[in-house]
Amino acid sequence: MSAALPLTKADFQSDQETRWCPGCGDYSVLASIQGFMPELGIAPERIVFVTGIGCAGRFAYYMNTYGMHAIHGRAPTIATGLAAARDDLSVWIVSGDGDALSIGANHLVHALRRNIPVKILLFNNRIYGLTKGQASPTSEYGKVTKSTPTGSIDPPLDALSLALGAGATFVARTVDRDKQGLAEVLRAAAQHRGAAFVEVLQDCPVFNDGAFDHLTQKEPAAVNRIPLIDGCPIRFGLDHEMGVIRDADGTLGVARVDEVGADRLVVHDPGCEDPSLAFALARLGVLGAGPLPLGVFRSVDAPPWGDGLVAELREARERLGDDELDALLHAGDTWTVSG
């Protein structure tokens, strides 16, 4: 039944038993998203979750919305088709680091450059979970996994850099355990008209335990999270004693505010047309042990792919009946053979 508004978290919980490992970061993300959804004020039946294959991919089954658990890496193509046929749905993609950045990277890149009206959530646990622990494109260089027993020889991809390189109009990053940060980012993403790309750093206790402890454990988190706030100088640290500055050579770096002076701090401007600023921030802390910028890196308003086209075509179609079809079939030079 169409859930009567106002909606509650319960309206978005499906009756399927969640089947992730105990302690999996996916649980926190699921809870946050189910908790956030009512805010949208969109009836569950107008929401669609399209997911790829992977532990992250199981997300679709747990949302009490329409959903498709597609094939590995192809969720963006399904979502694109959905957006091409319908303009009255809120379409969300949930994907993993292997699903989105390995087998599916091409589709991700093109969904972003086309600016498809869809929200893309990439659960990045830096490992292949569902297939039981192989390296993923975001796994660190030298990482020992089932498929790389002597250490991976592939340098990792940075999801945000790739997204920005593809021309993404909205790019953000958050962590599974940061309920509030996640909600803020989702809120911003939901408001974005085009493709909104959100990397969610997610812990896989079974195959890549603690990969993001430095961002989730109370103590280190306070030191390592660099919150990005629109229009504000970028500061972080226990008492905001650290900040982000632009060095002489033009690259970004971190420094003690009291040493460099507050006025040298870079002021965050996610709305800047030129993605270079966001890109520099992404490079500032590519996934590693150190401090990492979190929040909305880039959010530039641009017409979503085929804006208005669905409606235009619907109207065209609605004008067509058998007579118009007959006319169409008879187009061009015709002649009559009489019996």
Partner: protein, 627 residues
């Protein structure tokens, strides 16, 4: 050699109309051949329209150079257009041309081999320069030795004549003369076969309405060609091919298989009310379908050029999930890439149409040549037990019905359907009797309705057809999740249960096997004990071959398949009713394998894997050998 000398340009010919001898012909095959730049496709197209108007039955076959761009004047650069027209119903573009128009030495050399003995060759003698002869690999000019003795060669200095004709026109350049040669040639041949000139002239006037100069140049050249026939003694006989009388009455239009496929899909979209979303990645020859549908926004069609074939299939499937008519079109290599997504559609049980415009394989193969070698891959090219219905088009006009039928099956049975056409069908044209909209079978999407009883929705419950509900996002009360994992019968929830998997496999199988397809109709003759069976674009050649055999007084039966999965219910019985079954295919015997496995009937394969359509002549031979 049998050439007629043309009076030297010096002494002018009095422009008096003269009555050339007129001979009657039942059927004629003309081939226009020249360099890619010579506009042969245009000349052929115009000649075809005039012929259609005149009321002959006809079939055409264009042939382009391979996708590789070739140097002007080279053999690889030759482009040709063949038209077969007759006073009676005909079936193919014809085997051996009676008339060849050769705009340069390469065109002559490339086509000579296929001419019938005694054929007429009209050459643009001005193009036979030493340079061009070399490019075509001629030591010395074939016009000056005996190599053409077997033919009637008409040497026409087209370039010179067009130039002269344009002298009157101010601003006319030699470039214009070059460009308009094809219309001169068209004029000559139009005169030769008494084609109505007004059709062509009207077309020129419309086409170049905005470019008066070009219009004048073309009109002048066309008329010059006509007048040349009329005035010069060079061509002493004209041929009369009376209008066809045995064509069923109706409104006709000349179309190739690409247009009819597009129209079939559009018709299905309009009749069903489903928004047509065509997602494709360019590939020869399937690209043309994308190009055609891309111009039909006014018909509510959305076309998407995807990043690759996998995406194209996914986009079409996504559109279908959303309640659209999802279609994707490709050729061989692209079909390979779509297999995993087609398999997903099998598991999801959603309508999806995959058009495969077959070309010569394997791998990249010969992208500009035709073949029907994707059948087994369409049937079996997916891991696991993954049945998919297959519809195959047989003629350019029939592509309309085939496309419409593919949509009907996909929607009614909630299944992906593969529609097999090929390069030959896509490019060649024939008069198409235009159906009227009202006569088309209804297609009812029958979307699932919100449950009245508030009961729990069962996405994998089945109706009498074995089809599941199509519940599209936005429908209250039907929110559900589906995917590629095995599903519990009825509820659609994930299931790893052995018995359930066996049952679902059986249900998917039975659904496809149970699709209603018409019985195969046999064109039988009393006493015939040999059946010629075919599928796909060889229909014309088989029909013509069979007719030749019958004209020769022998008896033979013929049948053609349009549904390859499931096969018509009566097929086994039909096959067993004949002493021998001849099955010609443009592959190594793919359908033959299927029929042998299905019916244990020892069908006789006749296979040609040469990247070209079958010829009526070779079919006639093959049949005679069995009689």
């Amino acid at each position: 050699m049998a050439t007629t000398e043309f009076p030297a340009l010096g002494d002018t010919v009095p422009a008096r109309s003269r009555a050339a001898k007129i001979e009657r012909r039942e059927r004629v095959i003309v081939r226009f051949a020249g360099d890619s730049g010579d506009g042969m496709q245009l000349a052929g197209g115009r000649f075809t329209d005039a012929t259609a108007f005149f009321g002959n039955d006809l079939a055409t076959l264009p042939s382009f150079p391979a996708e590789i761009r070739a140097p002007a004047g080279s053999l690889a650069g030759v482009s040709s257009f063949q038209i077969h027209f007759a006073a009676r119903d005909i079936a193919t573009p014809g085997d051996a041309p009676n008339v060849l128009v050769a705009m340069n030495p390469a065109a002559l050399r490339a086509n000579l081999g296929q001419l019938e003995k005694g054929a007429t060759i009209i050459v643009n003698e001005d193009a036979f320069s030493t340079r061009n002869l070399q490019k075509a690999g001629y030591e010395d000019s074939p016009l000056d030795d005996e190599s053409l003795d077997a033919f009637q060669v008409k040497r026409v200095p087209m370039t010179a004549l067009v130039t002269r004709a344009l002298e009157g026109l101010d601003g006319a350049t030699s470039r214009d003369a070059q460009r308009a040669r094809n219309l001169f040639a068209l004029g000559v041949v139009s005169w030769l076969y008494e084609r109505p000139t007004d059709v062509t002239e009207r077309w020129i006037e419309q086409k170049f309405a905005k470019q008066p100069h070009v219009r004048e140049v073309n009109l002048t050249a066309f008329r010059a060609g006509w007048n040349f026939g009329e005035t010069s003694e060079l061509i002493d006989v004209r041929y009369e091919v009376p209008p066809a009388t045995d064509v069923p009455p109706g409104v006709y239009r000349n179309v190739n298989g690409t247009t009819t496929t597009a129209l079939g899909l559009v018709a299905a979209s309009i009749r069903s009310g489903l928004p047509l979303v065509l997602a494709a990645y360019p590939i020869t020859p399937a690209s043309e379908l994308l190009h055609d549908l891309a111009t039909r926004k006014d018909a509510g069609v959305r076309t998407i050029q995807a990043e690759d074939e996998i995406a194209a299939a996914g986009i079409a499937l996504g559109a279908a999930f959303g309640g659209g008519l999802g279609v994707t079109a490709t050729s061989g290599p692209g079909l390979d890439l779509k297999t995993e997504t087609i398999g997903l559609a099998v598991a999801l049980e959603l309508p999806l149409v995959i058009v495969d415009v077959q070309r010569a394989g394997p791998s990249t193969g010969m992208p500009t040549k035709t073949e029907q070698s994707d059948l087994l891959s369409a049937l079996y090219g997916r891991h696991g037990e993954s049945p998919v219905p297959i519809v195959a088009a047989s003629t350019p006009g029939q592509c309309f019905d085939a496309a419409y039928e593919a949509v009907r099956i996909a929607v009614r049975y909630r299944t992906p359907v593969i529609l097999l056409t090929d390069l030959f069908l896509a490019n060649s044209s024939e008069p198409w009797r235009i159906p009227n909209a009202a006569s088309l079978a209804p297609i009812d999407p029958a979307f699932a309705k919100p449950p009245s009883n508030g009961g729990r929705f069962q996405p994998y419950a089945r109706n009498g057809d074995g089809a599941r509900p199509w519940a599209i996002p936005g429908t209250p009360g039907l929110a559900h999740r589906i995917g590629g994992l095995e599903k519990q019968d009825g509820t659609g929830e994930i299931s790893y249960d052995s018995a359930n998997h066996a049952r679902m496999t059986e249900l998917r199988d039975a659904k496809v096997a149970g699709i209603e397809v018409p019985d195969v109709v046999v064109d039988h003759e009393d006493g015939a004990d040999v059946l010629v069976l075919g599928w796909g674009s060889s229909a014309g050649a088989l029909r013509a071959g069979v007719r030749r055999v019958r004209d020769g007084g022998r008896k033979v039966a013929r049948a053609h398949l349009h549904h390859l999965n499931p096969l018509p219910a009566n097929l086994g019985e039909v096959l067993r009713a004949y002493r021998k079954v001849l099955l010609p295919e443009m592959n190594s015997g793919q359908l033959a394998r299927v029929l042998r496995a299905e019916y244990l009937v020892d069908v006789t394969s006749y296979t040609r894997v040469e990247g070209r359509p079958l010829l009526a002549g070779e079919i006639e031979q093959a049949i005679l050998e069995l009689l």
